[in-house]
Amino acid sequence: MQVLIPTPLHSYTGGRSAVEAAGGTLGEVLADLDARFPGIRFRVVDEQDGIRPHIRFFVGGEMASGLATPVGPAADVQIICALSGG
């Protein structure tokens, strides 16, 4: 599926705002994404598999509560940078 990448992570994707990744859950998609773009996962998910405080994941338009969220084959994954202050 397609994963939409916000600008703070463009340094990992070579400037691309949409990339391909595969997986049946959000966690699997992020693992695949990290294999393609090393380091990207740890910037958005902490070492306890928690979503970082100012990051949101949307799967098929719905906000995901955790990495176990299933990702259907047709669903897009969107990574959003929420507001984080000045």
Binding site: P6, P8, L9, P38, G39, F42, R43, V44, V45, D46, E47, Q48, D49, G50, R52, H54, I55, C81, A82, S84, G85
Partner: protein, 402 residues
């Protein structure tokens, strides 16, 4: 003359010692680079030989919070940077070409993952970086918020927790549950004894100062004599708030530290700190963040006092910034404010933002929370501003340009 020199060289074990001396002499004449970490990126300020004109290189990683940027003194070219952004998690970047190109650590400092249902710790930011001992050229140490110690054995590419510290059964009690300083409790001032790579010190805000003699396998508190007026029990063994701890490179038995509650000196093998801040003028007090030692004279140190009265404004006392210097190991202090603003200047200098070069006379540099860098090329006697309008400065580290 030449004969005498060569005899001396033979006595000291030949080429290696004289090579080190040659490098030290070169550093005494070298151009200076200031490595500046700010809330919005990193900057490199480079001087001419006279240290009169400065050029600014940067910003690097504009928008990243750069808590520490350190040059490896062992190779003179490798830079390590502790960074995160408002959105993105903490990491370490490494440059092997003095900042031209950067590569992220493959395994940044992170706590072990705990079992489902347990609450594991999460690194919020990497706060402190220390190059390891000269005999271990690939070793680095990192201190994080919340307080933890990490080590890299491959030049900063991958980091592992120092289990002897991070898993110490007493650690939760050492750091307490007060939540630490406003922008997160920190592990800082990781010091490596130049005579013994297994002999380490570190400081925690809060938690206190700790020492290891076995390369980090075991640790003991080292806080005797240090005030902690925010702890209800008298003379606690730990829980203190050291802001910045330094060890003198020429006499590693001499330590100084600027604490939340005063300025202290410790001469090993003694284990009781002496509050040398008691000798500061009463109306200035002895509260501050940084302390800097002279690179060659163990009796000379500088502090930058801040206002720690009533609600703790943490600004320059009375709006009149000044550095205070001791030349007698803290017995007396002299105010050094020539060139600094004489009124209505309320900046703060954070614990990593005051530094000395290795020149003779020594150059001193500090960065302010208001984004200014001030320099003195005569050991604090006169100051001038060499950069303004930078972001909030976290750290300034002076290094020699090779």
């Amino acid at each position: 003359m030449a004969k005498k020199a060569s005899a001396k060289q033979a006595k000291s074990g030949g080429g290696k010692g004289s090579q080190a001396k040659k490098q030290a002499r070169a550093r005494r004449r070298a151009r200076v680079v200031l490595l500046v970490g700010t809330r919005k990126g990193a900057f490199l300020l480079k001087s001419d030989v006279a240290r009169r004109s400065w050029s600014i290189d940067g910003p690097h990683f504009l928008g990243s919070m750069v808590h520490h940027l350190v040059l490896d003194p062992r190779d003179g070219t490798t830079l390590l940077m502790a960074a995160r952004t408002g959105h993105l998690g903490p990491t370490v970047f490494r440059s092997t070409d003095r900042g031209k190109t950067w590569k992220e650590a493959a395994v940044p400092p992170a706590f072990p993952k705990v079992a489902e249902g347990e609450k594991g710790r999460v690194v919020d930011h990497v706060f402190w970086l220390t190059p390891g001992h000269a005999s271990e050229p690939e070793v680095w140490y990192a201190g994080t918020s919340p307080q933890a110690l990490f080590r890299s054995a491959d030049g900063g590419a991958s980091w592992q927790g120092v289990a002897g510290f991070n898993e110490h059964p007493m650690l939760p009690r050492w750091i307490g549950d007060t939540g630490g300083t406003p922008d997160g409790p920190k592990l800082h001032s990781i010091l490596v004894d130049p005579r013994d790579r297994a002999h380490l010190y570190l400081g925690m805000s809060g938690g206190g100062i700790f020492e290891s003699r076995d390369a980090g396998a075991s640790w003991a508190p080292l806080n005797k004599g240090v005030a902690a007026d925010f702890i209800p029990t008298p003379d606690p063994e730990y829980g203190h708030d050291p802001h910045c701890v330094v060890l003198h490179p020429a006499n590693p038995d001499r330590l100084y530290h600027q604490n939340h509650c005063g300025i202290y000196r410790l001469d090993r093998p003694g284990d009781t700190w002496v509050r040398i801040g008691k000798n500061m003028p009463k109306k200035i007090g002895d509260i501050g963040f940084p302390i800097v030692v002279h690179p060659r004279d163990p009796d000379t140190a500088w502090v930058f006092p801040m206002d720690g009265t009533d609600v703790w404004p943490r600004t320059s006392p009375e709006g009149r910034p000044a550095v205070y210097r001791t030349r007698d190991a803290g017995t007396s202090w002299k105010r050094q404010d020539q060139g600094l603003p004489g009124r209505q200047a309320w900046f703060t200098v954070k614990r990593q933002a005051f530094t000395a070069d290795e020149r003779d006379p020594v150059g001193l540099y500090f960065g302010t929370t208001s984004g200014e860098i001030w320099a003195s090329t005569n050991e604090g006697r006169r100051w001038r501003m060499i950069a303004a309008h930078l972001p909030h400065i976290f750290s300034v580290v002076a290094a020699a340009v090779r």
